[in-house]
């Protein structure tokens, strides 16, 4: 592997890690919000 191969590998891995973390974080946020909304809906129905 030449110098630019190592550079590509380093920058590529870092980009993958950062974008991957961001996508996972958004997914975790979405599912946590869904869970909270379901709980709140359920609570509202019980009160009614």
């Amino acid at each position: 592997m030449g110098n630019w191969g190592f550079i590509g590998l380093a920058y590529g891995l870092a980009a993958l890690a950062l974008v991957g973390y961001l996508v996972l974080l958004k997914g975790r946020l979405r599912s946590a919000r869904d869970e909270l909304e379901a709980l709140e809906r359920d609570g509202g129905r019980r009160k009614a």
Binding site: I7, A10, L29
Partner: protein, 251 residues
């Protein structure tokens, strides 16, 4: 007669009623995210296409424009964990704990990037992917300490106990950072001495400081954006736990 304990508060202590959690990132977070993307794209262009290659190391030195800002951002993230943990132990307010656990996760991400990019740079420069040099070993220990911190938090059955033990571990673990920074001066290591944060000012050519500074600014913006989003996740989770507990109490 059997004595019964009445639970009067949520497991993480007497907190005021939480504010509703926003559905979308705040305007500040969106601006930070956009600015991070813009600044990092500029830094990538300047570091890879504008500045000349290093006279000794050649093109591969360009990895430093990512490696160095990445570890400094990780240090910043762990400094936030350190301060938030101290504040949590002092005030026992779980909002500080939410900042600590969120920042620790992002710090681990940046430390992982530092270790990976350093290893990739080490192969063509030193001829090995890894060596048990003081700086490298202490960075690996730093990574392990905060992965351990996150595991401790994930497996704690009592949120308050997890927050308390985590805070102590985070504070003790932070001692690794000054040790890591000074390692290249205290011991004869393969890793080169500090070339930027050193007495007498930076030893690298000023043209090379430009992409380093741009990428550092970009990564700090990205860190702040990720931190705000990760704290939002923590708030949603805690609100869910609180509601679940209330429902359980009502039967």
């Amino acid at each position: 007669m059997e004595e019964r304990t009445v639970v009067t508060s949520v497991p993480w202590g007497p907190e005021p009623a939480p504010a509703p959690v926003a559905d979308r990132p705040s305007a500040t977070a969106r601006v930070l995210g956009g600015a991070a993307a813009l600044v990092l794209t500029t830094g990538l262009y300047v570091g890879l296409a504008v500045v000349p290659p290093d006279a000794v190391q050649g093109e591969v030195q360009r990895i430093m424009y990512l490696h160095v800002p990445s570890i400094v951002t990780a240090y910043l993230a762990f400094a936030v964990v350190f301060c938030a943990s101290l504040l949590y132990l002092w005030k026992r307010d779980l909002r500080y704990d939410a900042v600590a656990v969120s920042s620790a996760e992002i710090g681990v991400l940046f430390t992982g990037i530092t270790l990976a990019t350093g290893s990739i740079w080490g192969k063509p420069t030193w001829g090995v992917w890894w060596t048990w040099d003081a700086r490298l070993t202490l960075t690996a220990i730093l990574f392990t300490i905060y992965v351990g911190y996150l595991m401790l938090r994930a497996f704690a059955e009592e949120p308050q106990a997890g927050a308390r033990y985590g805070a102590v571990l985070a504070i003790v673990g932070f001692l690794d950072i000054p040790l890591n920074h000074m390692a290249v001066q205290w011991w004869r290591t393969l890793h080169q001495p500090s070339s930027i944060l050193r007495p007498g000012g930076p030893s690298v050519a000023s043209v090379m400081l430009v992409p380093l500074a741009i990428n550092f600014a970009g990564l700090v913006l990205l860190y702040t954006y990720l931190l705000l989003e990760r704290i939002r996740l923590e708030r949603v989770r805690r609100r869910t736990a609180e509601l679940t507990l209330k429902r359980g109490r009502r039967g």
